[in-house]
């Protein structure tokens, strides 16, 4: 929550058209290092489309997506493939959980290490000492993340057999294993019960504090968003209608009208 931090992700005038439909209309947004930013808005506001543009699943019609890694040149992410975006340091989770169900929990996290390791086909066939060392390191790193999200007891379980809340946490662990600069969470609390949500809140805070990375989350759970995120961006019908601290957003009449309704009064 430090506002004085350096800019990390800068999105300028992002626009996304699907045929005649403008799903995202010149939205600008900045995430600074170390902060937990949130993007909220009613259903169909274009939040997930925005996410998909940033992570390379869609190529935006207009606008710039700039990443400013510390000590390195600014990079433009438009038009990069999703895997290249991930390599640059943006990792994401999905609104509808997308785990590798037929792989074990550990293997799911190990996939996250893929883009930070390098063994090729021939070296994998020969399986020399370097490959074995790298493999072991992948296992250790993956265990580290499983421990962090509290899933170590499920290591050898198939991912599809996990309870719902655990699957969400596994997605976070898998994304974190890619060593990101910025973690993008697409509705991480969707479908969770209050107990799981509060555990998630603790987890997000801990990741932000211990790993010193920035987090951008899309969320419906207003309580969670108001508690943990500092700059909040609000979207409606593809446009950004407000931004600022939880307090500002809560009192913004347009936001109340568009989204929060009476909930804020209550």
């Amino acid at each position: 929550m430090n506002e004085s931090g350096r800019k990390l992700l800068e999105v300028k005038g992002l626009t996304m058209d699907f045929g005649g439909l403008r799903a995202v209309d010149s939205v600008s947004l900045t995430v600074h290092e170390g902060e937990i930013a949130a993007l909220i808005g009613p259903n169909g506001a274009g939040k997930t489309t925005f996410f998909n543009c940033v992570t390379g699943i869609y190529v935006p019609t207009k606008g710039d997506i700039l990443l400013h890694p510390q000590g390195e040149q600014t990079r433009r992410l438009n038009g990069l493939k999703p895997n290249q975006v991930t390599e640059m340091g943006l990792a994401r989770t999905f609104q509808n959980i997308r785990l590798f169900g037929g792989m074990t929990v550990l293997e799911n996290v190990m996939i996250g290490r893929h883009c930070r390791t390098s063994s090729g086909i021939f070296r994998s066939i020969l399986r020399g000492s370097r490959v074995r060392e790298e493999e072991q390191q992948i296992v250790e790193d993956s265990y580290y993340w499983l421990n962090k999200v509290g899933l170590e007891k499920y290591v050898n379980e198939f991912a599809r057999n996990l309870p719902y809340g655990a699957q969400r946490r596994l997605e976070i662990a898998r994304a974190m294993a890619t060593d990101p600069l910025l973690l993008l969470l697409d509705e991480p609390a969707a479908g969770m019960n209050p107990y799981e949500t509060s555990a998630l809140e603790v987890l997000i805070r801990r990741i932000s504090e211990e790993e010193k990375i920035a987090i951008l989350l899309i969320e419906h759970d207003m309580k969670l968003v108001m508690k943990i995120s500092h700059p909040i961006y609000v979207m409606e019908y593809g446009k950004k209608i407000a931004q600022g601290s939880p307090q500002d957003v809560r009192n913004n009449p347009r936001v109340i009208e568009a989204y929060l309704g009476e909930e804020v009064e209550a």
Binding site: I57, T86, I111, N161
Partner: protein
Amino acid sequence: MKIILRDFKKSLLISLWFMFLTFPLVVVRVNTIENVVVWRWSNLIWVAAGSFFLSYLWRYMLARRNRRRKIAEEGVETRGRLQMLLENEQLRNRVLAILLALALVFPLVFDTYQTNIMVTALIFVVLGLGLNIGVGLAGLLDLGYVAFFGLGAYCYAILNHNFDLGFWFVLPIGGMIGCLFGVILGFPILRLRGDYLAIVTLGFGMLFRVIMENWETLSSGPSGIANIDRPGLFGLEMTLAQSTTYIYYIMVALVVLTIIVTNRLKNSRIGRAWIALREDEVACVAMGIDMGRTKLSAYALGAFWAGMVGVIFAAKTTFINPASFTFMESAIILSIVVLGGMGSILGVILGAFILILLPEYLRAFAEYRMLIFGAAMVLMMIFRPQGLISGLRQVYTYKGHKTHVGVKEQPINE
């Protein structure tokens, strides 16, 4: 107990129904010459017993499957005894050693005919393992796999005929050619998924045969290429029986090599990327895996084995023509992978032996072969859609002394 009684009653009813249905056909017979009606009551008993038994078995199996599914939904570990056995590494290695020893003495015990059948089975084992990389691990349905097999075979046949190149020289070339065409075919189909991919690969399989049938100058057309050299061993003269044994050992070696290589790949960074691609393409790409490269490598490596074993096939039969590389072969190889269990090496080997050896030894039922084959497949899809062997998990050991780069290990408390 109640359920069993209920099933018993239902099966009884079904058998009565079948008795009624088949009565005019199997019991009554009008002898038109002597104008008498023959009542064959014994047939009725057979129908009754058979339908009762089958229906009861069917009900029992269905109930068992449902029970298992219910247990699985409750999240309790459901691992069969076989699966536990396979996950025990020590035991598995011992079994593998015994199997290898059996494979080595096989031609000494059995005659040339048996060895020949075994060579065919081993060829399909390698083909199955190769296709398993694409279909089983990476989830890329390939209905034209036999084309790569044919490419390897024609590669040896043509090079041997025109340039007099030897078997051992062409063997790696065959693999490389397969690999090359795998990449060439791979490029245009990178964006395709599921059904569309299947159609394009099916087309490629067909294309290969059509080209080989019509490009007379290269492949001598439908009449094929004959008198291909058998594999040589330092210029030794070999009788047919010796040569068969020799090819058998070459095949055993190739099978072992394939198993080692595919096993290592499966448990490597590359193999995990393939499996992730199969499980969820979008998530896989979002986790930083280059989809194009991963798909191409799966295709190329799968095609490599087909090309290589194609060379051996040509050397074994000494005669090839396009009729050996039809869609039927592709379908059989695919069935091997599906029957054995997608992605499971042991399953594929088992599948190959079942699908190749059973028809050989069931020649007595040759007429019903496709019928039995079809029925077996339908039953498989109902009772074990995941294949004979599946769901084995790779377990990694955690040493715990190295920690994440640059971050302190923290105790968890929640």
